[in-house]
């Protein structure tokens, strides 16, 4: 059974040079470009089976993050369709849902709720979230006083407790110190064993090889490789 279906998806960004009405009118009158188009994704089709772990590879600007954002619903495709079975949670840049003026505790609730957890779920998992992040002592301190490592730990900890059916991970395995990284990887492997579907974006090819079974390589918005992970990593290393 497929967990994620992406069919003939294209996404074009219109890079606008101005945000003001006046300038837009003036520029249009002068026939100057108000913006230009940038094709971030072009006829991409992927089917991801339930329980699969897929690594999404490619150089900067190849469209990896755009694809993740389409799957998570933050953006919608211009062409083609995206379908997802079950609940999606994205770790698209950890900490996006954390607010510096709130305490760690308040942020656990706010961020958990943003990621789709119900209040009862958060109540039940609260202590496990705090344990995982290893910052009990600071849980009632405002997040703006946290070190960047503590900040990321808390954010990651909330995200891995959301129990989504499809889990999107964007460049977050570089969180914290070595022991914490290992803990994160173990947690991701746990999620795999629970039969969840994972899509992982990372530039750390070793990590991708360790976690994923299948690799996708994007080049300038096109899907060029869809094979087992070793082949995909080799394709990227050869460049």
């Amino acid at each position: 059974m497929e967990a994620v279906v992406v069919e003939g998806v294209a996404k074009t960004f219109h890079l606008r040079h101005t945000r003001s009405l006046k300038e837009t009118f003036v520029w249009m009158a002068k026939r100057r470009d108000v913006g230009n188009d940038f094709r971030a994704l072009d006829s991409v089709s992927v089917r991801i089976e339930q329980g699969e772990t897929v690594g999404l590879l490619g150089l900067n600007g190849s469209g990896k993050s755009t694809l993740l954002k389409l799957i998570s619903g933050v953006m919608r495709p211009d062409e083609g369709l995206v379908r997802v079975r079950g609940k999606v949670a994205g770790l698209i840049e950890v900490g996006a849902g954390l607010h510096p003026d709130l305490t760690g505790r308040e942020n656990v609730y706010l961020n958990g709720s943003i990621l789709g957890m119900s209040r009862a779920e958060i109540d039940a998992k609260f202590s496990s979230i705090v344990d995982f992040s290893e910052i009990e002592r600071f849980i009632d301190t405002e997040v703006k006083f946290y070190s960047s490592g503590m900040f990321l730990r808390l954010a990651f900890s909330v995200a891995v407790h959301t129990e989504p059916d499809v889990f999107l991970v964007d460049e977050i395995l570089a969180v914290g110190d070595e022991p914490f990284q290992q803990k994160c990887l173990r947690r991701i492997e746990e999620l795999q064993h629970e039969g969840r579907t994972l899509v992982i974006v990372s530039h750390d090819l070793d990590v991708v090889e360790r976690l994923c079974t299948r690799g996708l390589v994007l080049e300038q918005g096109r899907l060029v490789v869809d094979a087992d992970v070793t082949a995909a990593v080799q394709h990227l290393r050869r460049r």
């Binding site: 079975r85 698209i92 003026d101 709130l102 308040e106």
Partner: protein
Amino acid sequence: MDPGRGGGLLDVVRRRHLLRLLVKKELRVRYWGSSLGLLWSYVKPAVQFVVFYFALGVFLQLNRTIEDYPIYLFSGVVLINFFTEAFGNATRSVVVNAPLVKKIYLPRELFPVASLVVAIIHFVPQLVVLVVAALATGWRPAPVDVGYAVLGLGIVGAFALGLGLLFAALNVFFRDFENIVDLLLLVATWVSPVLYPWTAVREVVGDGWLLQLYLSNPLTLGVELFHRAFWVPGLTQPAELAPLQLPMLVGGLLVLVVLVLGQVVFARSEGRFAQEL
């Protein structure tokens, strides 16, 4: 499931808990580091009332032409304050929450609705000041008066939410709309009978359709209903009440149209928020 397609305002009802947390966040952030906290929202309207009382009522001697002028004035002012905050903050709500909108999918209607809820919370202290002042001048409300107040607040709140949704969406594409909204809000105080009585308008435009149009403005409706709730019951000589039957119909319809239009425009442009911010 089709990711990124929401159920509009219905989603907000479904995610009440998140709405509550967003509202709490908003209040916490606004009063962080101030020792009086929410008390400030009592101090401000109280000072505003005292200033109005002396400047307009005593010095400009409006107390003589309109009985209980401070109450008349203040019941309109608090409603306009509410509208200004709800509409203004709703317009900015999506742009202000850009980091969230760009990274994680959640029903984006939550942001304008949270602005409305925060405005309601800030409205309560002003209402308290108004009620205390009205009681002091002999106001004894009947149940129907409470009904007028609720109806007035409902009309203005729904109007602010509809406009807020519409302009929040437009503001994502062009930040000029923030300034347009500020301008509209400036006008709002003067196109409804807050500082002057509605009869002053009738003297100029007569009894015809222009007056009906003036009264059909949802803000005018709200303000007039507030007058009936808080000002009229305390009067010793009965005041002439504005005819509100037809305007209620037209204004109510207008609010509904604005609400639907706002929701439709918001839902249709929502898919492009993440890339435009």
